[in-house]
Symmetry: C3
Subunit: 476 residues, 3 copies
């Protein structure tokens, strides 16, 4: 491409129709704020300069833009898209020979490929302005593209006549200008309209009046279906759906089985390996990475979880900020979190929680267990109902369980405490002192029996109930 | 509106295609029986009289109609919609100057707005009969509206020719009559047809024959898409989907984020505050109320739950008939039920159940715990694996835990019992007697160790296994 | 039908676009491998011979074909569909008077009814070849049916011109040949094309050249929508959706309520009784059978589970290879597995796991319990936090609990062990010896108290913290 490109994102608005304390472009779309999707798309075009016009909640917007080379223009008051571009005029003047790509910030579904085609057409046709349009099934909310007297005009939804509303070719909100033409036309914009705003769309008719070449560049076919302006949270959800199904389709074609693609929630940065099966009702968030040949059962919820190859995450397990090595099997109803690592071949069963725990190779904790701040050695067996008492009311203390140890069911391990390699702990013990390797440790009261107790108790109860019934009757 | 309105709902049928012991109109649609949706819609029109024609399971139908001013007409045998209206004739005769709105009971998606337009048109045009029609994409099951010789006729699906089936304008099943004209035409209806029933639809042709003004009033556009006659459970599910998405869209536009609107089950009476985020896979039933700035994770199931502002309900938590104050955080896998109240800032973690429990401000119960019939003071810490033994085989007994108390892990509290303010209970204790404020209470056996036990056991086991292996071999 | 029918399924390919180690036709569709759906459909036509052409992973393919009368033809190298049929020619020659139905293996949505119509038309018209076509909304991936000079030709997607791609009538991949004509045309097929393959579709043009009668038989209307060629996992998911909704609609019309049909995963062999309600988010796999008047809450996951009448399976319960008798109520968060039987009227509550357990009539285990290898008598009450210690590190041992027994909360039952009928076990006990019928058995340490301990501890902690803070400061 012969000329330099400056990219400009309009991101100053609050987005009142979101009815949120949070500015619209900070709302996440598959785990990333919308503004981030926009700047990522524009960065892919390798502009010499990426500018973001900010206003509402600008500090937060500026923090969430990923591109460290991005620059920011502050638009203190918001008087329309034309006004936003005026705020950037001083910077644009320094690049008189560049092309300026201006994109509304709420178009996360516009792809770099679409913008490349827009740019290419603009340059080939040596236009003053080329703007992106699409033939939409439901153009509600978009300005319509009206051809009048050999040129083009955009009519905003709210200013459109009934006939104009039937037009389906819509202005999407992405424009390429020759800088010199943009700078020439900006002062001619007026705010004499219902909303008293400067519309960037008016540049189309104005430049045409000035005799400059102005042309639409239309997106067609299934690609156009994907274009949604995100003005409400409901539209945000629809945009997320399009994004999500694109991503799932790509993964499916790379060898992942989704039993029901519509029923998986998957964020943008998640990766999944070949021949892994994902059931319906799975939620995958953050930087989650799943290996190959895994299975993720219904209701599984992973956030920043790393899962190795050949692992099984059974129904309803919840994993966050943890790692499962190859061949690990967890759940159903496992809850693994905060820096826990499950070594190869280990297993965590139902109603088992691990927090900040290093769980050894081939170790098992199959039922009703809480391991917090623990290190468990290879092949250890943690009985049902085992609890690490890691919190003494003030601080968290560590528990160490040696390789091959056997912790009997219903044991409390009062941390800090160590159980040696190959040691046994008897069921129902409270372990407050370290256990030597290979030893058996038990804390248990003697079992005693009161024969015939049930019958005597029944008799007592009958006796005690009789008078109380009388009393109740008397009381009425 | 100049004339009085009498509204009549036809609700006598069993709905055989539902193949249910329960009458069709008693089946719930987003948590309310269909008959209730119908009578609510009609009550909104403020008729001078709301009449329901009942037959099958009439006591139950009558109980579920919310409007206390509604009257009922019993149709003992069901011989068609015309016959149903005949059953109401004696009452209608008392209102000769009213308009009569007759609506089939299985049209929950017909809105008050549609009926108001029907009524308005009827009155403006001074018609004898105005009937609601819609241009349906899939008119299957509806009678078709046929124009013949300057007037209209309805042909039922089962009596229609192939050509008539192609007609998409369909009779929905809502009619406004001038009372006098309705009473005049009813005796002219005949049951000479395949099903030997009196069709109310025949009034259209008959009134036209009598030279009266009869006109359709058509619903068009996206509104028409929503009209579904509910004859099977599959159609009921489709109607529920339309209803549900309407409700979710309204909530989204009022400031609630639904990550995937299609994947939330929400009943009619549920309310949600602004800036609350609802993940896919959430189920909200009954009189559930959610505050603002909350998050509801995947798999959360609430029924009659009240949730304050800024609360987090983490994955797969199940809450019923309970209340969470502001800033409470529960789950994943919390199960809170039956009159439990969690005070502001308190937390219930994974595999934690509460029943009829008052859980104090900033108190915590994070793991594997059952609190039943308990009162827990402010800031108390309930260790992992704590169980209130509230049931002695005969009655439920209360447990009281004072503010700031610390219950060690793996404790059984044998109710009735009290733990005083600021008291400590050692891990693994069985508490059968009250604990004084500020005291430490423990019931624990001494921990003892048998060194080298594991090696000896292994040796014993080897010795005992050798002969048994021989035996097995011999046995073959 | 006057002539014999031989059915031939083409099942030799790997299905490279699946990007899987497993051959395409082995991938499951609602719990059954695709090849099984195909052979079931063809078996329904009662052919005199059912032949499957196998190649990739043929042992596994052969094992998964259900029809014991099926024969197999090995195609060692795969050079196209025409080549596959050539491999079967020797067998076909033995049936010169039969009709040969050839069907691609990846058409699970083609029904027996469609194939019967194809066959009927073929025979009525005395054609040499009749092939199934459909007017598809999205014909991508299918060969297009082109009429040229009074005859027909199929153009494969990859060889089609842009104009040909616009044709929507597509060749599905199911053909009936007169055997003699098929044998005559096979030697005329050529592999002079982009992929160097013998296309079976070329028989259409060749037979026409030879002056034989060749005709399409078109599937139209909504049936055609269901036809999807399964070339990728994404298409497999779409096929599963069509299948699944067909099955759910059938069940709904037979009297099952699905609140949201799109959100239930149900495999092919699952059965459900009348007036049962299925919430969204339910997963039903394998040979699961649900009785009538049941309710399945959100998140329920059943695999090979038998559920009697009037049972309730509450939220997120996971059941596999187990049986619930009439009126049983389990969950939320119950996990029942491996040969467990819950007798009539019994209840398993939250965070309760049973494995290989026979749980008696009206028995209850409501909270935080693990029963493994246990037999529990009628009406027994298993307290919260009860654990059977069935594993001693070497083998699994049984636990027997008598009818009417009461197991106090927090009890460990160290197996092998028996608790007699009507016996009581005190809360927090470790039971290592059998308990006599009607007796009370307890193993519990005395509860003792240290008054004022909390205050003293606080003082000690303050004292000990002061110097350590100093140290930290010094250390910097």
């Amino acid at each position: 491409m012969s000329r330099d490109l400056v990219a400009l994102v309009l991101a100053a608005g609050q987005g009142t129709r979101f009815r949120s304390r949070t500015a619209k472009l900070l709302h996440p779309l598959l785990g990333r704020p919308m503004i981030r999707h926009m700047t990522d798309t524009l960065s892919a075009l390798k502009p010499v300069k990426l500018l973001v016009v900010v206003g509402h909640q600008r500090e937060e917007i500026m923090r969430r833009v990923a591109d460290p080379a991005a620059g920011f223009v502050v638009q203190r008051e918001q008087h329309g898209s034309g006004h936003a571009v005026m705020s950037a005029a001083p910077i644009l003047r320094r690049r008189p020979k560049a092309d300026i790509l201006v994109v509304n910030g709420d178009l996360p579904l516009v792809t770099a490929a679409m913008l490349r085609r827009l740019l290419l057409r603009h340059r080939r046709r040596r236009a003053a302005l080329t703007f992106l349009t699409a033939e939409l099934r439901n153009p509600y909310g978009f300005g319509r593209v009206i051809r009048e007297g050999g040129t083009w005009r955009i009519v905003e939804e709210k200013d459109a006549t009934a006939a104009q509303r039937l037009v389906r070719e819509s202005n999407i909100g992405a424009y390429v200008f020759r800088t010199s033409d943009l700078l020439a036309v900006l002062p001619r914009l007026s705010n004499k309209n219902k909303k008293k705003e400067y519309y960037l769309t008016d540049t189309i008719a104005e430049l045409a009046c000035m005799g400059r070449r102005v042309e639409p560049c239309k997106v067609e076919g299934p690609e156009a279906e994907g274009i949604i302006g995100v003005n409400t949270r409901f539209e945000l959800a629809r945009a997320a759906e399009v994004f999500r199904l694109r991503k799932i389709k790509d993964l499916a074609e790379a060898g992942v089985t989704f039993l029901d693609p519509a029923r998986v929630w998957i964020e943008w940065d998640v990766r999944i390996g070949r021949d892994t099966t994902v059931y319906p009702g799975v939620t995958l968030e953050g930087e989650t990475r799943i290996g190959s040949d895994c299975v993720l059962h219904p209701g599984v919820h992973l956030r920043n979880a790393i899962v190795g190859n050949g692992a099984a995450v059974l129904s309803h397990s919840v994993l966050s900020d943890c790692r499962l090595e190859d061949g690990v099997r967890v759940g159903p109803f496992a809850h693994l979190r905060m820096k826990s690592v499950l070594r190869a071949g280990s297993r965590a069963g139902n109603f088992v929680e691990m927090k900040n725990t290093d769980f050894g190779r081939d170790a098992k904790a199959m039922h009703l267990t809480y391991l917090g701040d623990a290190a468990v050695g290879e092949g250890a067996n943690i009985g049902a109902g085992t609890i690490t008492c890691n919190y003494d009311g003030v601080r968290k203390n560590p528990t160490r369980i040696g390789a091959g140890a056997f912790i009997g069911s219903g044991t409390e391990l009062v941390a800090p405490v160590k159980v040696g390699k190959g040691a046994y702990v008897g069921a129902g013990s409270v372990i407050t002192k370290d256990v030597s390797p290979g030893a058996l440790s038990v804390s248990r009261a003697r079992q005693f029996e009161k024969p015939g107790w049930a019958a005597r108790r029944k008799a007592r109860r009958k006796a005690s109930l009789r008078p109380s019934r009388k009393k109740r009757k008397t009381g009425r």
